[in-house]
Symmetry: C2
Subunit: 332 residues, 2 copies
Amino acid sequence: MQIAPPYLLFIGDATDHLSIKMARGAADWRPELCVGEYSIDGCTVTTGLEQLDIKQAAAKGAKSFVLGFANSGGVLEQKWLPYIHEALENGMDVVSGLHDKMTDFDDIRAKAKATGQQLLDIRHPKAEFKTGTGVKRTGKRLLTVGTDCSVGKMYTSLSLEKAMKSKGYNVDFRATGQCGILIAGSGVAIDCVISDFLSGATEGLSPDAANDHWDIIEGQGSLSHPAFAGVSLGLLHGSQPDAIVICHALERTHMRGLPDSKFPSIANTIELNLQAAKLTNPNAKIVGITVNTSMVSVEQGRAICQQLSEEFDLPCVDPLRDGTDSIVENLS
Amino acid sequence: MQIAPPYLLFIGDATDHLSIKMARGAADWRPELCVGEYSIDGCTVTTGLEQLDIKQAAAKGAKSFVLGFANSGGVLEQKWLPYIHEALENGMDVVSGLHDKMTDFDDIRAKAKATGQQLLDIRHPKAEFKTGTGVKRTGKRLLTVGTDCSVGKMYTSLSLEKAMKSKGYNVDFRATGQCGILIAGSGVAIDCVISDFLSGATEGLSPDAANDHWDIIEGQGSLSHPAFAGVSLGLLHGSQPDAIVICHALERTHMRGLPDSKFPSIANTIELNLQAAKLTNPNAKIVGITVNTSMVSVEQGRAICQQLSEEFDLPCVDPLRDGTDSIVENLS
């Protein structure tokens, strides 16, 4: 599966900045892949990109119409179907990260067939995966792991990719969630894979490569999250990471979505991940810590990172405020 | 999903004892659910049950026709389709644990619809699962975990259920694989669930129960298996076990299917499982060890169990040779 650029980011009538995470991710990290944004009456948020409707975007060469919004439940509402039809008629593939599949709508499927365009339901992997083998692959791999869900694993991964590229590294970002897939143009929504193939799908996502090549693999969940630790472990084993970056967010008191689940310490997160990683890569090591410090001042954030850096003897940064150069310098 | 008894176990033209694991499991552990066995020319193995063809079984009241064999790849071969048709025509549901879905064959689906019978592809869970919550449930739970795949977790679970029933416990066996599901009549093939729902599906499989009720949950995989540890961890977290039994097999030198993957020690298996279990049940404890000693003499097997029992200060038995009474006595 490969998403054809450039994209038109459709954000509908969104009013919540968080609900257009898909669109923002692409606009922030791959503006060169985006021809513009399309919003309709009632929309109060924006990615900052140029406003274009479907015909204007098509005239500018847009190849993919991206449903860049989310709603609770991941429902594909009837009101969006005419826009999907129009995009297909204007020569675009349609990309959705919603739970509901576009291919379950007969008329959309018929229109896609008639127009020769693709429907890419990126939360529903179609590939035939194999079970994992644990066999060591060539090339180097870095995996971002978290104290919790939604602590900045994707942003950390993308910041690392950017820093490494600017230093001349041979590097690829490997996406494991729908936002990441839109940014990378390909990838596997790992939490949507059948459990039996968790590690195997991850192995396939990051194949043998040149000895000096790095894959930066986007982590998911947390080994300490009661709902998602299985996904995190399969992803960790399949990644065989040489380098692991711990991602953390301030001011969390419990695991995301679970008020009764205690938040793990960074020390515990390091220990759990290192222990598990060694099953498929005995040389795995922790190379840095990133912290989402957006809820405190820049000065406070830096002081916290400095303290963690000393405590764990590792580079520690806020990837958005400070970049991740210091972590890249710590790669062997 | 509930499989209607009694079953007719169809083993086709199987010549390998291992390939009729599904049928043997049901015949060994639930003979009262089986009306008989149906094999055809060329078959050289048997479950030991009475031979009946489809019409004879129907006359004896058979309600489910079970494809009791497996092949590598889990392919549903064309040659079996006439038997499925005949079973449907004779008023039976059809149960398959193969990878290929019966419902993908148009003519089988049409026949099932016409006859009003069900097609149960038990490796393809159809339920709508929720993500896990980690919230503690009422009742008691025991989970069997392994040093590896195929070390006897299902047989240990069923032996424990039997021993507990005979001592008057209020107990249910909760199946997580296709053989177990056939034996229990229901369950979830946990490695066939979408990864996001691993823990949630396990939570649903073993709901709130009376305080003195025990669920014996069939484990899958191993925390030390590079391909399947994610499944094992999700199952462990969702199970919230009060009691864990370690299952082991003699004469393994590497993980099943992976010649390069080292076999873990029992001590390591205990440590990994206990550490992970405490995330969702801080009171989890190891209550016993079972060993498949079938590759050595009864005396040698007993000596090995005795030695392990002393080393870990836990009851240790071969569940088939010795039963699991000593482990049940160790439940608090």
